[in-house]
Amino acid sequence: MIEVETMFSGASAGHLGELYQRHLLNALRLAYLVTGDRALAEDLVQEAFLRVFGRFGDLRDAGAFEAYLKRTVVNLARKQFRRARVERTYLAREARSRHPEFAEPDVVTRASLREALLRLPDRQRMAIVLRYYADLSERQTAEMLRCRLGTVKSLVSRGMEALRHTTVVEEELT
């Protein structure tokens, strides 16, 4: 906490730069896992830094910089998903939803677990990443995703089910 407060009151670009360097990679990795898109992840992380730096003086707990940053990355990803839905992915999503015969188990049978993770629906992937990469509890994940605890359980359960199917197929193949 002292470190961050000192940095800000010191008011030097170098200090912000240090903070940026220290947290960039972890933030980028989290953004990549929740979006599955490297370029988008870089954009989200830049925007997240921009927001957190921009609001620095208003933070209740300046020592929680990393938590603020992480939360902002997830929030921006959620907004991006909503934006994308509204804009240009609407067509494909609607089409998929109207073809239940092409549901996830069929889609992922030939995919590796890694690919299957990246192909999970946005919210399922976010829930899984927050639970098993960021090591958040179900309640913390629910707070991060701004949804109910039951919704997180459902998202994780459905995501796990899709991934379980992948591993079963992989094991059968190997």
Binding site: F8, A11, A13, L16, G17, Y20, Q21, L24, L25, L28, R29, L30, L33, G36, D37, R38, A39, A41, E42, D43, Q46, F49, L50, G54, G57, D58, L59, D61, A64, A67, Y68, R71, T72, Q80, R82, V86, E87, R88, Y90, L91, A92, E94, A95, R96, F102, R110, A111, L113, R114, E115, L117, L118, R119, V129, Y132, Y133, R146, R148, M160, R164
Partner: protein, 453 residues
């Protein structure tokens, strides 16, 4: 921890470890500092610090504004006669460009001390480009930004602004959700996961006097001064007739032509038009293009999807197939005279991936309304999914050019223009690089009615 959880943890860690520092390195980009200054205000300590950094950058010759890149050398340039002007909203700010005959561009407006800060996501230009609609979210609770309210319940305001950012008017009548305090959600189940308002489709009447706005199942008719005048059912607005007296709406199943007060309504298509078909009304009022996806999504099983583009005759309600194309259709736009349809497709390629991110290919096409002269105008491989691969396909008022926003192989968004015959492909503007200020991206843009000669 069971075996699957363990596998997932290891796989996630492997994926994360594969993410290396970005191409622009670990150094904080100077434009980021500049953005911090804008958001903090000039009086804060941060602003003073950043202003110093910006001054140093300016002295060093660092440029922040998007500039047109050199035109592609492998395409012959038969550019538009004279100059072309367009307006572009970029990263929350308005820029007015003139594009010269050689494809280079000149920034005419914005920048410097007078740069308007529209402070909101841009949505739509008025026909004369004098006004712009933006959406501005704010925490319901107001007060300082904190972890609790920075992305808690939001109140979205839809505003009409003058193009210089002045004259702010709130659009009345749009639905809104009640603000809820942080903590357990009290939203209706239908809105779970998307607690904010998602109003889409702002369509200005040709004379700019009114706007049709789709707000879930209601179409609001709003005056240009933001006052609500009428409501009618519909989930999307396809456009106004040329004389501004009739409105075409989509209700989730049918395309309906109606007066703005809901009278004299007539269904254009007898069959069900699926959601996501992007019905597009021609500017001569005669035809509606409908993109219907066939087959299964390309993800996973390698079987590509295809899309049929159908055309419905407004007068007779006859529907005929115009063309079948590979992939999904991202955007459609009729030429001003209704003779040609331009459309953008996206094909994902599950066999090609970089670091787990699939590659895809967007293509922009034109085809005559009689189904002849299918011509590919532009194409590019792009990383990632189809989201935002191609946005905003717009014809110049003269019909001599098409403009669109698309991503390049490096994932950067650019504004492109091309002749309808595929010649003269030129990049007019480009985001300065991935991750700099690219989150909001380019757009929307609009062609000027009367290009400067």
């Amino acid at each position: 921890m069971n075996r699957l959880e363990s596998k997932i943890r290891h796989t996630l860690q492997d994926l994360a470890d594969a993410v290396e520092p970005p191409a622009f390195g670990l150094e904080m980009p100077t434009p980021l500092l500049r953005q911090v200054r804008r958001r903090r205000g000039r009086t804060s300590a941060v602003a003073l610090m950043v202003a110093t950094a910006i001054a140093a950058a300016a002295i060093a010759g660092v440029r922040f504004l998007p500039r047109a890149e050199p035109r592609p050398a492998d395409r012959p340039i038969k550019w538009f006669p004279g100059a072309v002007e367009f307006r572009l909203l970029y990263a929350h700010r308005m820029f007015l460009y003139r594009v010269n005959g050689d494809g280079s561009s000149v920034l005419l407006g914005s920048g410097g001390e007078n740069e308007p800060d529209l402070n909101g996501d841009p949505l739509s230009w008025s026909p004369d480009l004098s006004k712009v609609i933006v959406v501005r979210p704010s925490p319901c609770g107001g007060g300082p930004w904190t972890q609790d309210n920075q992305d808690g319940p939001l109140r979205h305001q839809y505003l009409i602004l003058n193009a210089d950012g002045s004259g702010e008017v709130r659009i009345a009548g749009l639905s809104t959700l009640p603000c809820t305090p942080p903590g357990p959600q009290r939203l209706r189940p239908a809105f779970e996961g998307r607690p904010d308002l998602e109003v889409v489709g702002f369509v200005w009447a040709p004379d700019g006097s009114k706007i049709a706005i789709a707000d879930r199942s209601v179409v609001h008719i709003v005056s240009s001064s933001g006052e609500e005048r009428l409501r009618l059912p519909g989930s999307a607005v396809l456009g106004w007739s040329k004389d501004g007296t009739r409105l075409m709406v989509y209700d989730g199943q049918r395309i309906i032509l109606t007066n703005e007060d809901g009278t004299d309504a007539r269904t254009i298509t007898t069959g069900v038009v699926p959601e996501g078909a992007q019905p597009t009304w021609s500017s001569d009022d005669q035809q509606v293009a409908i993109a219907v996806m066939r087959g299964r999504p390309a993800e996973g099983d390698g079987k590509p999807i295809r899309t049929s583009i159908l055309v419905a005759d407004v007068g007779t309600s006859n529907v005929s197939k115009l063309v079948d194309v590979d992939g999904s259709v991202q955007a459609q736009a009729w030429a001003p005279d209704g003779s040609t349809l331009a459309f953008a497709t996206f094909v994902s390629d599950p066999s090609q991936s970089i670091g787990g991110v699939f590659l895809g290919r967007w293509q922009v096409w034109s085809i005559r309304s009689d189904g002849t002269r299918l011509t590919r105008l532009a194409a590019s491989e792009v990383p990632g999914g189809e989201g935002n691969a191609v946005l905003g396909l717009h014809w110049a008022p003269s019909g001599s050019a098409l403009g669109f926003i698309a991503r390049d192989p490096n994932g950067r968004q650019g504004l492109y223009a091309v002749h309808p015959d595929g010649t003269g492909l030129t990049r007019l503007a480009l985001l300065p690089g991935p991750g700099i200020i690219g989150f909001y991206g380019l757009g929307p843009f609009a062609w000027m009615d009367n290009p400067t000669p």
